[in-house]
Symmetry: C5
Subunit: 299 residues, 5 copies
C-alpha cells in the first residue's frame, strides 16, 4: 500500500519510460508516414473522437473492476483481522477454567498465527516456512503433506474445537460460536484464493493496450493537419494520459502480489500477531512491520 | 479461463474474420452507394457522434452485465469450494469416533464429489455419468430417475445427516452446522442454475449488433466527404473496435459454457476432489486438470 | 423471458410502428416549420450535442435501474426455488418416522405448491384460484377471507410446524431450520411485492420521453442546414435508436407482468411443482410449462 | 409515491416556473451583456462542451445517490413489512396455548402497530400521538419520557418476550426466533434514521446548482454568435433539461419527507395494520390509505 | 457533517483561493508563452476534448469511491447505533432478576459507552482519555497497556458475558444473542479501522491533480486562438469546475477525520450515550452535541 500522497518522479519515470519512448517513436513514425508516404490520407476528428469514446469505456471498465478486486481483497483481510480477534477472545473468555484449557487455548491461538503466515505465503506464491514456528514439529510435518497447507491447519483447529467440547470446556452454544469463526476463516481463505487465481478476462486488457496505440496514431495523424510536427508531442501527451490511467488499474488488478500498491499482507499479519500475543499475555511482542523506501509504501 | 496475458493472433482472427469481411464489404457498399447513387446525401458528423454516444451506452451496459454474470458465477463456485472443505472438515472432526462413523462419513464425502460432477454436467448440458463413480449403484440408479439429479443427491445427504443424528454421532448443535452447509450447497446449485437458465434480455444484444452496423455505415458516409475511399478502412477500424468490445462481453455472458473464457468448472471440481480425497487419507489422488493449447486456457 | 437471440421483425415493428410514424411526422413538421416559417432559426450542433449528453444520462439511468429491478426479481424467485427444495428436503429427511409424519409432511409440501400459485396470481394481479387444488377445502375458504392470501397460507404452515414439534416429530434444532425456511418465504414474498408495488419514479420516465422528442426536433433542425430534407430520415433514425433503447428498459421495469420479456413465473412455479411432487414420490407429474410462439418466449 | 405514468402539466409548471423565469432572465441578461457591453468576448464551443461534460458527471452522480437512498429506504420498509408479518406469525403460532397467551400475544402485536406509528411520526418529524392508541396508558406515558420513543417501545417488547419465556409459553429456540425479529426492527429503525439524519454532502448539490447557471450562460453566449437572440430560448431549453434532471433527483433525496415522490409510509403502515389485525381475528379493520389528488400519488 | 444546503462564500473561498491564484497565474503564463514564445504551436480542440474525457473518468472514479468510503463509514456507525441499543436492551430485559444483575449489567452498559469513546479517539488519532470515565480505574489501566485499546475493552465485555452465564443469569440461548452483538462490535470496529488505515490508491489522486493542470493549459492555449486574452479567465473557470469537483470528493475520502464534511462521530457517540443512560434510568443525562459555526456543521 502506497502511503504518500505524492508519487515520486522516480516512480513515474520508472513505470512509464519504456512506454513513453515507444510512444514517441510511434507518433513520429505515424507523422512521417502520413506526411511523406501517404499525404492523401486524413483521419477526420470525428473518427478519432469516437475511438476516444470507446477507449474511455475500456479504461473505465478495467479500472472499476481492478479497484473492486483490490477493495474486495482488502475487505476480506479486514474480515480476517476481525475474526482473528474474535477467535482469541472466544477461546480465552468462553472456556471454563481448567488445567487443560491453558495449554489447548494457547496452542489454538498460536496455531492461528501460523495459519495466517501459511495463507500469506500461499497467496504470494513464495516459499517460506515461517508458519512452522507456530505449530508443533509433528503438526508442521503433517500439514506440509497436503496440497493446501492453510486448509490443513484449519483441520487441526477443528479437531481441537471438538477436543474442547469432549473435555467439557465449552458447551454446545460456545461450540457453535467458535466453530462459526473457524468457518469464516475457511471462507476468507477461499475468497482470497478466488481473487488470486482468477485471471481478469484477457480480452479487456489486451484490447485496451491495442486500442491505446491505435488512438495515439489517430490523434497524431488528425492533429498533423493543423499543427504539423507538434502533432508528435500532442499524440504522446494524450497517450501518456490514457496509458497512465490504464496502468493505474493494472497495478491493483492482482491485489495479493508483492508490490507497493497491493494489499499489505505483511503488515496486516504482523498486527494480528501483535494483538493475539498481547491477549495471550506474552512478554516478547514483535515490532510492527516497517515501511519501505523511507515511508513510501508498506508491503 | 484464459491464462495468458496476450491473445494469440490466431484467436483474434478466428473470432472476427467473418465479421471483418462482412464489415469491409458493408463499408465499401455504403461508400459506393453514397458516391455513385446518392451523392446528394450527407450525414453530418453530429449525427454520427450522437449515434456513437448511444452505442457507448449499449456496449458499456452489456459488458457490465456480462462481467457481473461471469464474476457472480465465479463467486458461487468459490463458495462451493469453501463449503466443500467445511463439509469434509465438519464430518471428519465433529463426529464421535465409532465403527459406523468411518463408513458413513466416507460415504458422505465421496457422494459430495459425485454431487459436484453431477452439477457440473447439468450446468454444461452434456451427458456424462462420471458422478456415478462416487455413489453406490443403487443410489446412482435412484437419483437418475429424478428430473434434477444433483438435487436428488442432496436428498440422500440429508437422509445421512439424520442418520448421523439417530446414531448419536452428532448432537443438535453439530446437526445445525452440517445441515447449514448442506443448505448452502442447495443455494449454490440454484444460483448457478439461475444464471445458466436466464437468457440476458434479448433486446440489448440484438440492438447492439444492429446499431453497430448502422454506426459503421454512418462513419463511412460521414468520412467519405473528407477522405474519399479511405473512408472504407476507417469505417472498418471503428467497426472493429466497437464489435470487438461487444464480443468481449458476449464471450463471458453465459459463464458455464465449455469455452476458454468461461468459469473453469473442470479445474475447480478436480481441485476440490483432490482436497477431499487427501482429507480422507486416500492414497490414489488424481492429477490437477491440465491446461489446454499449451497453457493458453483451462476448462 | 425471451428465449431467442434474434428478435423477429414482427416484434420490432409491432413495438415501434406507432412511435415511428409519429416521429417521422414530427421530423417532417420540424423541417417544414424551420424551412418555411422560421428560416432565420438555427440550432447549433453544440446545443444538440449537449442535449444528447443529457439524454444519454437519462436513458442509461432508466435502463440500469430497470435491469436491476428485473434481475433482483429473478434472484428472489431463484431464492424461492432453492428454499422450496430445502423446505421439502427438511420435512422429508429431518422428521422422525411416524404415522402422523406422512400425512402432515405431505400436506405441508402440497400446501407450499399452493402458496406459490397464490403468490404468482397475486403478483400478476389476475384472478385465478388454482392454488385451491393444493389446500383442503376448509383451509382454502379460510385463507380467501384474508387481504393477503399467500401470507395466510404461510400462517397455516407455521401452525403445522408447531404441530410437528408438539407431536415430537422434530426437536428444537430442526424446528429452527424449518422455521428459518418459512421466514425466508415470507421475505421472498415481501420483496416481490415491494418491486411489484413500487412505481419507478415517474419523473425519470416522463422526462425521458419528452426529451427524446425534443432531441429529435433539434437533430432535424440542426441537420437541415447541411443536408436539406435528408434531415427527416436522419432525425428519425436517431430517434429510433434512442427510443428503442428507452423501451428496452421499460419492457423489464415491472418484471412480474405477463409479458414475453418478464420473469417466467409460470415456468418457475411449474418446475418447483415437478421437483416437489417427485420428492413426494407422486406418480402423476405435470409437464414443464410449454414455450410460446414457436419457442420465442416463455411466461 | 407518484402513481401515474404522466406528470400533470400543473405539477411541472408548479415545480419549475420560478426557475424558468429566472433562467430566461439570466439568458437574456447574458445575451445583452455579451452583445452590447462586451462584444469582443466569445466562448468557444469547446469550453461549453467541456463544462457540459462536468455537469453530466455531477447530475448523474447526484441522481444515482438520490435513487440509492430512496430505494434503500423502500427496501428497509419492505423489510419492516416482512418482519411485522413474521412477528405476528411467530407469536400466534409458536406459543403454547394458555390463558396468559391470548392477552400477552395480543398486547405485543398491537404494541408493534404502535411502534410503526411512532417510528413513522419520528421519521417525518411531525408531532402526532396516534401510536398511543395501541399501548396502555401507563406504557404510553413511560415511553414518552424517552428521547427516542420507538426505541423505548422495543424495550417493552423485549420485556414481554422474556415474560413469555418465564411463563414457559416459549422455549429457548422460539425465544431466539422471536428475539431475532425484534433485533431486526431495531436495525430497520436505525437504518431509517441513518438515511433521514445524514445530509447528502452539501458540496455536490450546491455546485450542481452553481454550474447549471454557469452552463446556461455559456450556452447562450456561445450560441449567440450563430443564431443571435434565438440563443436566449436555446439557453433556457438546455437549462430546463439539466435543471429538471437535477430536481428529479432532489425530490427523492430525502425519502421520508411528506411529499408525493417519497416512500409512502402512511400506506405501508396502514397495510401492515390491516394484515396484523386480520391475523388477530379483529372485526373492525381500517380501510387502506386513500390516494391523493385523484389517484395521482399516495403518501 | 455539513448541515446547511448552501455553502457560505467564506467556505468556498477558503477552500479554493490558493488554487485559484495558482490556476490564473498558470493560465496567464500559458497564454503568454503561447502568444510570444511559441506562436506556431496550436492545440486542436479535438486533443483538449479527448483530455477532458479522460479527466471526466478520473474525477467520476475518485468521487464515486470517495462517496462509497464515506457512506460505508456512515453505515458502519449506523450499525454501531443499532447494536448499542440491542446490547443494552438484551442485557436489561433478558437477564434474570438478581442482586448481581444490577451491578453487572450496569457495568457492562457503561463500559460499552467507554468502548465508543475509545474507538472514536483511536479512529480520529487524537489523545484523549475520556473513555476512562466509564471504566473502573483498574480496568482503565489494564486496557491502556494494549496496542489496541477498544479491542481490549471488548475482551472485558466477553469476560462479563461468561460471568453472567456462570451466575446463571442467562441461559445458552441468551448467551448466543448477547455474544453475537459483541461480535458485531468487533466487526464494526475492524471495518472502521480498515477504511481509516487504507490509503486510497495514490495514483488516482496524484494523476487527477496533474491532469487538471494539463487540461487547464490545453484549454487556455486552444481557446486563445479564437478569443485572445479572454482565454485566461475561460481556462480558470473550467479549472475551477474540475478542481472543485475533485476536492468535493477528497473532502470525504477519509471519513473519520475531524472535518466538517466527515462522519459526525462526536454527535453519534453522544446520542448513543444519551439513549443508554436513559435506559439505565440515570438522572444526569448529557446534552446532545452542539452544532458548530452557527449550525453550519456538526462534528
Amino acid at each position: 500500500m502506497l502511503l504518500k500522497q505524492n508519487l515520486t518522479l522516480y516512480r513515474i519515470v520508472k513505470l512509464t519510460w519504456k512506454v513513453d519512448l515507444i510512444m514517441i517513436s510511434l507518433c513520429a513514425l505515424a507523422y512521417y508516414v502520413d506526411i511523406y508516404l501517404t499525404p492523401q490520407v486524413h483521419i477526420p476528428a470525428m473518427v478519432t473522437t469516437l475511438m476516444g469514446t470507446a477507449m474511455a469505456f475500456f479504461i473505465a471498465f478495467n479500472n472499476n473492476q481492478a479497484y473492486s478486486r483490490w477493495w474486495e481483497a482488502r475487505i476480506i483481510w479486514g474480515g480476517i483481522v476481525n475474526d482473528s480477534r474474535s477467535w482469541a477472545r472466544h477461546l480465552l473468555s468462553y472456556t471454563s477454567d481448567d488445567e487443560n484449557k491453558t495449554v489447548l487455548v494457547r496452542r489454538m491461538i498460536l496455531r492461528h498465527i501460523g495459519f495466517l503466515y501459511a495463507l500469506k505465503t500461499s497467496l504470494r506464491k513464495v516459499h517460506d516456512d515461517e508458519f512452522k514456528k507456530f505449530l508443533s514439529e509433528e503438526e508442521a510435518k503433517k500439514v506440509k503433506s497436503f496440497a493446501n497447507v492453510p486448509s490443513a491447519i484449519l483441520d487441526l483447529q477443528a479437531d481441537d474445537i471438538q477436543r474442547l467440547s469432549d473435555l467439557q470446556l465449552i458447551d454446545g452454544f460456545r461450540f457453535m460460536q467458535i466453530s462459526g469463526v473457524l468457518q469464516n476463516f475457511c471462507d476468507h481463505m477461499g475468497k482470497s484464493e478466488r481473487i488470486n487465481n482468477t485471471v481478469f478476462p484477457t480480452n479487456y486488457i489486451y484490447f485496451t493496450r491495442l486500442f491505446i496505440w491505435l488512438l495515439v496514431v489517430c490523434v497524431t495523424v488528425t492533429a498533423s493537419e493543423n499543427v504539423g510536427p507538434w502533432a508528435i508531442p500532442l499524440g504522446w501527451v494524450l497517450g501518456f494520459v490514457f496509458h497512465t490511467t490504464h496502468i493505474s488499474g493494472m497495478a491493483i488488478m492482482n491485489p495479493f502480489e508483492i508490490a507497493p500498491e497491493c494489499v499489505p499482507l505483511n503488515s496486516i499479519t504482523r498486527n494480528i500477531e501483535i494483538n493475539l500475543l498481547q491477549m495471550l499475555g506474552e512478554s516478547k511482542i514483535p515490532a510492527p512491520e516497517p515501511t519501505m523506501h523511507g515511508g513510501e509504501y508498506i508491503l
